[in-house]
Symmetry: C2
């Protein structure tokens, strides 16, 4: 329970606000509600089975490969990242309970979440501890009935309050009293907005963040246990909160990457459509001012802007698909060594998949605005919306700085370089196969050389780390991620080029059922 | 006069809208008016003499060097780019009339504009002809009284309608009937909102663009002569519209650069202030989770983001000052050869001054948002506003693509390389002086080598152009500008380093009265 407010009595105000004047009824008015289209979109997503698409039949899922789900979700994210984001959060909250929850919790929440009858959240961040999860202070006190009483404040909780569903299931990181300091003392709790007996739990929305994008998905501050009566249930073992939450965070990071790729891609498509219909000026070589204006696709600089968007957006989307494929193999490959290999590659690529589509995708989104010129600077056209939406992707689910530390410090150096070695093998195989089907040798050579550059830089930075100069190593983590990402995307483009070459030569490669380059 | 609307009769609607129901009175209501602070800010700017700061005493100016004015305007732009922008437009409209207008026009408008009793606009852009000014179709028909009747539509006119002053003076590009096609047929007209006899001129606001930034400065579509009775007055000679307008455009381009530098700079300051007050996480080398959190300035990646902002923002501001200094010398140096030299350097640098602070400044503004993390993504904090404001600067007053063609095609190649040679001399002198006062030799060598790279690339692209492959040359114009800009900013930093070195050594250099590095 918080201290009494010295100015007005909190209980009296709450009595007047909620009991006498029914403040929450006002929130049902259109001006205070979620965008009405959100209900339409989320319902459609849920009805289509998107929330449990990759889950097994036993829990009501469609048991689809992640790769297929990622392709489908790219359309959904391009259509509306907020609706797709709420679906993803809900799906991953259910997945946590499915993986780690007690039978009772599974029976209570898994089906309602996977069908969209409830929605879920990730309640990690606290005002004083954004990326530093070991510093969270939300407390969980054991109760005689086997549950816990939760007390603390969380911020930036997407979908943390809304009127779309009657119940919201918060997956909350908190410390059981007496737990050790740091990350090892953090446990995971399931804290529903409405308790199993139907009563409202003591979870209060303390404020709405005015985000500059993703406006249909409210991001709120939540207070748990203001009245000392917030019921929560432990998920999995005490002290295992963070490792368990990483199941959700890893999926979310790949999801963010796919969403970021889709956000860059849809803006590129729109810029291309605009450029193909907008006449202005004449060819650089035209001397005759009386000739008709040309389409702006005729201007080299517009082509440069469109091609750069294409390289980023299509490369990013391919990388998101590649990561999803590794996720499928990591879990379902028949051979354990293949599963282990895929897991290492997926772990290595996760920070890249999270970051490249967000950071370079933003560059692509800015270019889409620029292609539309003055019109692009207005909210009468969509590119500025996608630009705003995209900016969130370098911040949420671990900032670019955090991803960079994860890549260089944990995935590359701490792993002794094994993941990087496996990735080099993948790239080398790709360039070899590309050469064999006739892809420009100079491109393949450049990619091979770049892999060598990454290896050399890794050795140099790793040596600094081993000599005790961790800061001398990690100060370059973001630049390292940027370099690595560029080479990763080049690898994807070599793969695209090889398959396209085969297709153009009339060879339907690798059992692909169709190819956009295949003559029809 | 436009064709009658086939659905409703335009005259009847206008009669009902304006005469019966007094639509314009509604525009005086707060919801439809300019932000009330705009009146406070613009009045303060006008009262401080900002609008005529650089103009001669004879026209009511303060005859200040452009360098001093640019320093002052950087504060104003950092405070509010919209108010400073309206001041600049007004000042430059007055300057056009001062330079090219008849005695009658000068007597009528120069003083009211320079004192802020009226405001001015640049009415160039038409919906079908953004960057392609030779394609404008607004017509001017000579009238027996010596004036013209103007007819046409303009778009993206900043300050084109507002209730701040009773009169607005539009500087309009139009074609006198029978004028040649292309840019040589374009003339400049002065078209006031209110005619000399006090009657409203036939200039209608046809719509407001919903810009994503610069919200206090309305950008509107204007229709001239819907009723066939829009009075305009020729400024200067017929067919000289574009060369005359370039006086305004060149000043505006430097003004945009200074404003862009200020917008990057103020965001950097805010991000720095935030980082110095925000604790989170621990040093990379700290193993003890129980130690207090450190300020985020302790994290190498935050320092990287702040230093990159500093390099861009302070480098850009120094370049804006350098350009202003050349503008002063180009006009007022005693020696004609020195004036000519400064003019060439100013012309060469203008597209760089316009573009680097806008493009790389935007990168800096995005980093300011990133430093604030989730908070940066909300409109509760200012960095997102500066990010939105900054994006306009790569679009208005000639897009980055247009500036790039101007630099490579016109300023470098068409000029036979003379301007580039003079600039190389400036850089070489700067690195020589820097070495002499002890600036790190490797930095000076790197800048000298980069100037060599620019020269070599210029030769290669120039050769393509001379061989008839203009497109093969100009397709690289934007990348050329990016490279050139980087070297230009490096040159500025060498100058800063040299002066700072002297100051730190206790030598008060070049008569500077103060230096932030000077021990107090």
């Amino acid at each position: 329970m918080t201290d009494a407010n010295p100015l007005l009595d909190d209980r009296d105000v709450a009595f007047l606000l909620h009991d006498v004047h029914d403040a929450s009824a006002l929130c049902a008015l259109p001006a205070f509600a979620m965008h009405p289209k959100m209900r339409v979109m989320f319902t459609a997503l849920a009805d289509a089975g998107v929330l449990a698409a990759t889950r097994p039949f036993e829990v009501g899922g469609q048991q689809l490969p992640s790769l297929v789900y990622t392709a489908a979700s790219a359309y959904l994210c391009a259509g509306n990242s907020s609706a797709a984001g709420l679906a993803m959060l809900t799906s991953e909250a259910a997945h946590l309970i499915e993986s780690f929850g007690s039978d009772e919790l599974r029976a209570r929440y898994v089906a309602p979440l996977y069908t969209g009858a409830m929605t879920g959240t990730m309640a990690l961040t606290e005002p004083h501890a954004g990326s530093s999860l070991g510093d969270i202070t939300t407390r969980a006190t054991p109760h005689a009935d086997g549950s816990y009483r939760i007390s603390g404040a969380k911020i930036f909780i997407s979908g943390g309050e809304h009127d779309l569903t009657d119940n919201i299931v918060h997956m909350v990181l908190a410390r059981v009293e007496g737990a050790p300091r740091g990350t090892r003392g953090v446990s995971l709790f399931c804290v529903p907005k409405r308790r199993p007996d139907g009563a409202l739990n003591d979870v209060r929305c303390a404020g709405v963040l005015h985000k500059i994008g993703w406006r249909a998905l409210p991001s709120v501050a939540l207070n748990f246990g203001e009245e000392g009566d917030c019921h929560g249930w432990l998920v999995g073992a005490a002290g295992r909160g963070l490792p368990q939450m990483f199941q959700m965070m890893n999926a979310a990071r790949i999801g963010v990457g796919a969403s970021a790729a889709a956000t860059a891609y849809v803006a590129y498509q729109e810029a291309l459509r605009y450029a193909r219909s907008r006449p202005q000026g004449r060819a650089l070589t035209a001397r005759d001012g009386s000739s008709p204006q040309v389409l702006i696709t005729a201007h080299p600089d517009v082509r440069r802007m469109l091609l750069r968007q294409k390289a980023i957006a299509e490369g990013a989307l391919s990388l998101a698909f590649e990561a999803a494929r590794f996720a499928d193999l990591a879990e379902h490959a028949v051979d354990e060594s293949e599963r282990a290999r895929a897991r290492l590659l997926l772990d290595l690529l996760t920070p890249v998949v999270k970051t490249f589509p967000a950071e370079r995708g933003f560059e692509a989104n800015v270019l889409a605005v620029q292609v539309l010129g003055g019109y692009g600077y207005t909210s009468e056209y969509l590119p500025e919306l996608w630009m705003r939406d995209q900016k969130l992707n370098s911040i949420h689910e671990g900032t670019t700085g955090i991803q960079s530390l994860d890549l260089l410090g944990r995935k590359v150096v701490a792993g002794g370089g094994e993941a990087l070695r496996l990735w080099s093998e993948e790239v080398t195989r790709a360039t070899r196969e590309a050469r064999a089907v006739g892809v420009e040798g100079a491109w393949c050579d450049a990619v091979d050389a770049a892999v060598g550059d990454v290896a050399a830089l890794t050795m140099e930075l790793g040596a600094r780390g081993r000599s005790g100069d961790a800061e001398g190593m990690l100060a370059h983590a973001t630049d390292y991620l940027d370099l690595m990402s560029t080479v990763v995307i080049a690898w994807q483009w070599i793969e695209l080029a090889a398959v396209a070459h085969e297709a153009l030569a009339g060879q339907l490669p690798r059992g692909h059922a169709s190819c956009p380059l295949w003559p029809r």
